[in-house]
């Protein structure tokens, strides 16, 4: 199999996954389909990739990927740590932890108010932020950030190690 064919297969698999994601969200409202689909897709693509005959992934390419991955991790763990600490601060900012009274955004009407936390959010951090669905969005954002960081560093090191140099022959 040629490399371009492999990329075509990747695109088809991605489209199928988008479809399954839609079915999971809208139709059956269960995450199991998309979760199984992603794992199966990864396995299938790994097997197919081994059949690619013209990968030309030599030692220079491996070095570029390694350096990019290392730099990505160096930056990403800081971002991940900062966001995690922020989430922990919000997590502790409630009665029963380090706060005796509810913070204003969890009790907008004051101590004697009957307003619930969910009734007023106004874009402020609320308890809902801790729900699994929103955590999923946050994780997806972090994954995309990681991907962008890797691609950025990949371009940088590829350029540094002569990827797009013109031939003098």
């Amino acid at each position: 199999m040629k490399k371009n064919t492999f990329y075509l297969v990747c695109a088809i698999v991605a489209l199928i996954n988008v479809l399954i994601f839609w079915v999971s969200v809208v139709q059956d409202r269960t995450p199991i389909y998309i979760q199984i689909s992603i794992v199966l897709s990864a396995i299938v693509l790994y097997i197919i990739k081994r059949e690619v005959k013209d990968p030309h992934e030599d030692e220079r390419m491996v070095q570029i990927n390694q350096m990019s991955a290392m730099r990505t991790l160096e930056i990403f763990w800081i971002v991940f740590f900062v966001i995690s600490l922020g989430s922990i601060v919000w997590g502790f900012d409630r009665p029963g932890h380090f706060r005796e009274n509810p913070p204003p955004y969890l009790n907008p009407g004051g101590p004697d108010s009957s307003l619930s936390a969910g009734s007023v959010t106004g874009g402020l951090p609320s308890e809902g932020f801790l729900f699994a669905g929103n955590i999923g969005f946050l994780q997806l954002f972090l994954l995309v950030l990681m991907l962008f960081l890797f691609v950025g560093f990949r371009l940088y090191y590829a350029r540094k190690l002569g990827e797009w140099d013109t031939d003098e022959e």
């Binding site: 030599d58 030692e59 220079r60 002569g162 140099d165 031939d167 022959e169």
Partner: protein, 69 residues
């Protein structure tokens, strides 16, 4: 690290593509080595020397200037 791959390639009348194929690397890798942007692994350096029938020292000479970080 400096190298004389371009010289040896010219002596053997080889294109970058042919040398890359024979050494199982990409043409861009040969080009990057020739331009001094990439220092090959010891294994690839030995393969190159063996390919041209010379010692490594005849092709590669160490130079701190321009060494990869």
């Amino acid at each position: 690290m400096k190298n004389k791959i371009k010289v040896y390639r010219a002596m053997h009348d080889l294109t970058q593509e042919k040398l890359a194929d024979d050494l199982a690397v990409s043409r861009q890798t040969i080009l990057a080595i020739e331009k001094g942007k990439y220092d090959p692994s010891l294994e690839l350096a030995f393969k190159m020397a063996s390919y041209f029938g010379v010692t490594i020292e005849e092709i590669f000479t160490y130079s701190a200037e321009g060494a990869q970080e």
